[in-house]
């Protein structure tokens, strides 16, 4: 008897994967990235009318076309990676810190303040120690406020950290007026443009690294990556925060002081974000404005999660994003598109990489599946 055709079978079913080999998940990511590049190419081709080959060449030129461009690409990659590293302990603890933006900004404000008030009176080494301390402390404070509230009163950290971003932006606006170089200009301009006091790239390190000023950024972030990896994987603190992230009940059961861990971890995360603020202000922009953080606090969240907190993956994803963004701005200027092309490209890449995350966890089955007679 054959009644099979009477029984309707769902067209597609989503089934969770058991386990996926590293090679296979790599392959899925690789396909996703290629697909996103192809789609970017097609869209840019439609927009500009230029051949895809030209478009891709322009992208590469935009990212690596000159020494200056290489410097920008490396700097932006390291900064994005740095923020991702800073956010990692918080996210590993499942503390949804979307306040990275604000923590970077207050770190930047603190750096700028030290540069402005102490730049010409302190010896260089003291100036840098003060800038690093002030920026980290500012970020730390911005980070532990929501942590304390969460630990003590179980407030929702998502809203709290988000709101603190706006306060940080308002503070920045205030200080840009407060410190404005020319009355009424509404901007600070380049800080210490004559003396270059507190400029990371041209101060005490310049003798060692010469013109290759990105080496310093690379070194700092590289060391930070290694330290973060060790902290998370091999220290008692790292173990505690991952237990808290997995299950607060289990953490309490084994006697971990959950409140303390939440506050401590956010102090670290916030301080590192503040430190990145220092790197931005002292290392590249030499000024402060509301666009200093440049959305890195948000983009870095995706970088950290996509990489599953693995520093090497974080680096690759940061590089890919920055590479495409730099390429897109080049295309925008070459073909007279506006800056939004940048956002479109970033959006496409993120969409594909996020989708690949879905496919590494699930597979689709069409109709009656395997072992069908």
């Amino acid at each position: 008897m054959n009644t099979k055709d009477q029984v309707k079978v769902p067209f597609v079913r989503i089934v969770k994967r058991d386990d996926i080999s590293i090679r296979k998940s790599f392959l899925i990511y690789f396909v996703a990235i290629i697909a996103s590049l192809v789609l970017c190419g097609i869209i840019l081709f439609v927009l500009t009318g230029s051949s895809p080959g030209n478009v891709y060449m322009t992208i590469v030129r935009g990212a690596f076309g000159s020494q200056r461009k290489i410097w920008v690409t490396v700097r932006e990659t390291t900064l994005l990676l740095g923020v991702a590293l800073a956010l990692t302990p918080a996210y590993k603890m499942k503390f949804w810190n979307i306040g990275g933006e604000g923590q970077i900004l207050v770190g930047g404000i603190a750096t700028a303040a030290v540069m402005i008030y102490c730049g010409n009176i302190m010896p260089t080494w003291l100036l840098f120690v003060s800038m690093i301390a002030a920026s980290s402390l500012a970020g730390l404070i911005w980070g532990i406020i929501p942590a304390i509230f969460k630990a003590k009163w179980k407030t929702n950290e998502t809203l709290f950290t988000l709101m603190l971003n706006y306060i940080a932006i308002q503070l920045t606006s205030f200080f840009t007026i407060f410190w404005e170089s020319v009355k009424g200009s509404g901007s600070i301009g380049i800080i210490n443009s004559k003396t270059k006091a507190g400029w990371l790239s041209t101060s005490f390190m310049s003798g060692i690294i010469g013109n290759y000023n990105f080496v310093l950024n690379v070194m700092i972030i590289f060391i930070l990556s290694i330290l973060m990896f060790i902290y998370l994987k091999y220290t008692k603190h790292g173990f505690e925060l991952s237990v808290v992230g997995e299950s607060e009940n289990t953490a309490e059961y084994v006697g971990i002081n959950v409140k303390k861990v939440i506050i401590r971890t956010m102090a670290l995360s916030g301080a590192l974000c503040g430190f990145i603020g220092f790197l931005i202000v002292s290392g590249s922009s030499h000024t402060i404005s509301i666009s200093t953080a440049a959305n890195r606090g948000f983009t870095a969240i995706i970088v950290a999660w996509l990489a599953k907190f693995n520093p090497i993956f974080m680096f690759l994803i940061s590089l890919l994003l920055i590479f495409m963004q730099q390429g897109a701005s080049q295309i925008a200027s070459d073909y007279n598109l506006n800056e939004s092309a940048n956002d479109v490209i970033t959006g496409i890449i993120l969409f594909f990489t996020l989708a690949s995350g879905f496919f590494t966890n699930f597979r689709l089955i069409f109709g009656h599946s395997r072992k069908e007679e």
């Binding site: 009644t3 099979k4 009477q6 029984v7 309707k8 079978v9 769902p10 079913r13 089934v15 969770k16 994967r17 058991d18 386990d19 091999y234 220290t235 008692k236 603190h237 173990f239 505690e240 991952s242 237990v243 997995e246 299950s247 009940n249 289990t250 309490e252 059961y253 084994v254 006697g255 971990i256 002081n257 009656h368 599946s369 395997r370 072992k371 069908e372």
Partner: protein
Amino acid sequence: MEKTYAVEFKNISKYFGSVVANSKINMTQDRGEIRALLGENGSGKTTLMNMLSGIYFPDEGEIFVDGKPASIKSPSDAFNYGIGMIHQHFKLVDIFSAAENIILGNDNGKILHMKSVIKKLDSIVQRYGFDIDLKKKTYDMSVSEKQTVEIIKALYRGSNILILDEPTAVLTPQETEKLFQVLRKMKEDNKSIIIITHKFHEVFAISDKVSVLRKGKYIDTVNTKDMDEMKLTEMMVGKKIELNINRPLPKNIRKRMELLNVSAKDKYGVTVLDDVSFDINSGEILGIAGIAGSGQKELLEAITGLQAIDENGVINYISDMGNAIRINGKTTMEIKQLGVSLAFVPEDRLGMGLVGNMGMADNMMLRSYQNGRTIFTDRKAPLMLAEKVKNDLEVVTPGISSEVRKLSGGNVQKVLVGREIADNPNVLLTAYAVRGLDINTSYLIYNLLTEQKQCGSAVVYVGEDLDVLIALCDRILVLCGGSISGILDAKNTTKEEVGLLMTKKRKEQKIS
């Protein structure tokens, strides 16, 4: 003409990834029959029933209802075929009354005629002899009443095939008997009933036939009256098993802990422990019986420092030298630092005792990560312990680094118990240590607890199966509504006596 069955499974298979949950199952059921579905955990009983009730869709094979092929893609499809399932976890809205919960989601017609609904419900209640107040709010109901609501809901929607997934796990013996009476009436009404259970005496009390599954495969269906416990166990496990719990006489009994006037409130200010006083002795197993939620969890958590107790209560640990160390008001870490060796196997294994996303080694480290003076964790000792637990307790796992949430329930419990007894604790607290475990693992756990008792540990066993409590423990403390309703000598008590004490307070309240 072929005989038509109420339900017929033909070559049903279901896969989860590489796991074969059901493999080519052929099974039939008549109308007016009560069928017990028996099998160890992971044998695929619930998966099979979930396919009948529309939660999963079979990967292969077909289901026939009343002789016609049925395509059951969702629970609402299942209702249309007259199939209703009572799950272990009830799906009721707390602030709704019984009647409101029953009609919830029933979208026949635009206007709700509550009066005619109540009338129809009343006739169902009368017909099958349910004991329920339809206007009672869910939050006021006992577990047994909630279950009744679920059953009436299925009947109201016209179910002719009723599936009950371990319905008696949460009931007292008295409530179970009431449920069985209802089921017998339904059977007279020509309904098909499938009941998933672990308890043999219930199989014999209620079912006409028994179907046995083992490791996803269908073994056989037999007439209940031709079977006995040994035969059924053999069918389930595939080999003969001794079903005796060894209870050596306690030796060197010594007071290890004392609780005096312990009361506690939950976070909403509701009293969960009410003036509880008793001793825990080393060298014996103290059983704790009670309906789910009678304060068992809070009692164990109070002892381990996780639940705050009222000021005038005292929890003392008696050291080997005979000194009383007061441990209430201290955190878990502080209690540990006082040198109190306390182990705790909590009810929620993956949510509290272990971290599901970590491997065995990291889970061993949960107890020892603080050891050593450096800021770094010692990863070697937990690795060795994980290896030892894996070998000693025969934990089936792809490797000690693979995540424990992927292990079966029995293996998860072996990991947890193995870790907790690793340091030879002086006090071992266990909550529902064998819940959801197969027969083999359950007996392994009983033996481990008895071993600990013989080593001089003070063992506390919070359990739900009264037969096991009576066979395993030396004394049984019965909790009812947060207070002690009796402490019994396990050798000289009966299930009925324990069952009565479990509901004592509720009855008293009804009278007054």
